[in-house]
Assembly symmetry: C2
Homo-oligomer: 220 residues x 2
């Protein structure tokens, strides 16, 4: 299989670039979160809620989309700075694409939120210099997804179950989801939210604030 022989070096050199990105972000003192989910799981809506909670923090959102900038336009209405990356045909963000936005970063940030391309598979393979991966799983997708798409749920430190408002109408068992996530990664933290109603964001954001503060402290 030619493809396997080639992907390995690509992943290795990506890893090196990701380590350099990590140093760059550490220089800013910013906590960097790589947000990964299926198309339509609510990545942008979750980011809007987080940005709203952190109204006094300096936030940069890096938006990854194959094409277009509708999500960026939504987020530009918030107090966050937004940079758009269009991957054109690529199904994920990689560390090199992230490095391309560094010249745009002319101030310090407390929090950098990276919205990856909507895809539960490929984005998990590419480190971008993040502090951790945050997976979003929406209730209509089903509680079995951590089992079927194991790599992301193996790597994600935080799993946000979104669209709790739809729980009465879909087959999704929160306890089962928790077990399935735990099977892939015992230490993952799970939070249940609804970006539509705002439910659950106080708990999630209090956790994220602790992480932002820890990061800042380690820098000082």
């Amino acid at each position: 299989m030619k493809k396997v022989n080639v992907l390995k070096p690509v992943l290795v050199s990506n890893k090196e670039r990701a380590a350099q990105n990590k140093k760059f972000f550490a220089g800013l003192g910013a906590l960097v979160i790589n947000i990964i989910a299926s198309p339509g799981a609510g990545k942008t809506s979750v980011i809007e809620r987080i940005v709203q909670y952190f109204e006094r923090k300096n936030i940069l959102v890096i938006e990854g989309d194959i094409r277009g900038q509708t999500d960026s336009e939504r987020l530009r209405k918030t107090h966050a700075d937004v940079v758009q990356i269009n991957t054109l045909t690529e199904c994920h963000l990689d560390a090199f694409m992230i490095a391309q936005v560094f010249p745009e970063i002319t101030r310090k940030y407390d929090l950098v939120l990276v919205e990856n391309v909507g895809n539960l598979v490929c984005p998990a393979e590419f480190e971008i210099g993040e502090d951790f991966k945050l997976a979003i799983l929406s209730t209509p997708e089903g509680d079995d997804k951590p089992i079927k798409y194991p790599l992301l749920f193996h790597l994600a430190q935080v799993v946000v179950v979104n669209k709790s408002d739809l729980l009465p109408y879909v087959d999704f068992d929160i306890q089962k989801a928790r077990e399935n996530i735990s099977r892939e990664n015992r230490r993952a933290r799970m939070f249940t939210v609804s970006a539509k109603t705002g439910e659950g964001f106080d708990t999630l954001c209090a956790f994220l604030l602790k992480k932002v503060d820890e990061k800042k402290k380690n820098k000082d």
Copy 2:
């Protein structure tokens, strides 16, 4: 970008293998549909409904999953034959993986349904020898997905909007979805269904039956 230089030959050789697969399937007289959608859009449930409708037809389902065989186990309860492909780390099915199941095909089929890996991006890039691609878009994902994931919606002859039962609870405008699909592919046929309630499957399956009959006729 090393990766691009390498992916091109991979896609070319895949295309050649796909052409060979197409001949193999033509020999069976079977209509082959490559079913592509996000994780949790309801691929397996839609297939169950189609199989149920075609109770007098010989059906083969080729199940593509990164890991596990829960979908195959569900489908083995129907009258269809089922073959499972586990892609392990790969985010899509390709023509070579499909060719690997040919030794298992020891009878004729009217219809071959291929359930691709849950992913709105990569599976669209790889032909597998199908007659056409059928994209499933579920209502909780949003009506903007054809714009954001253009390749699949550019290529898919048929788009099935699933989970119509959730329309009262989600922001999804059927007319808007139709316009967005049409922007990518004017000739695509759109069908609205609910795999949960069965709504819309008579219309969809009548269309598919016509395609099955046409294929059979072309073979004779």
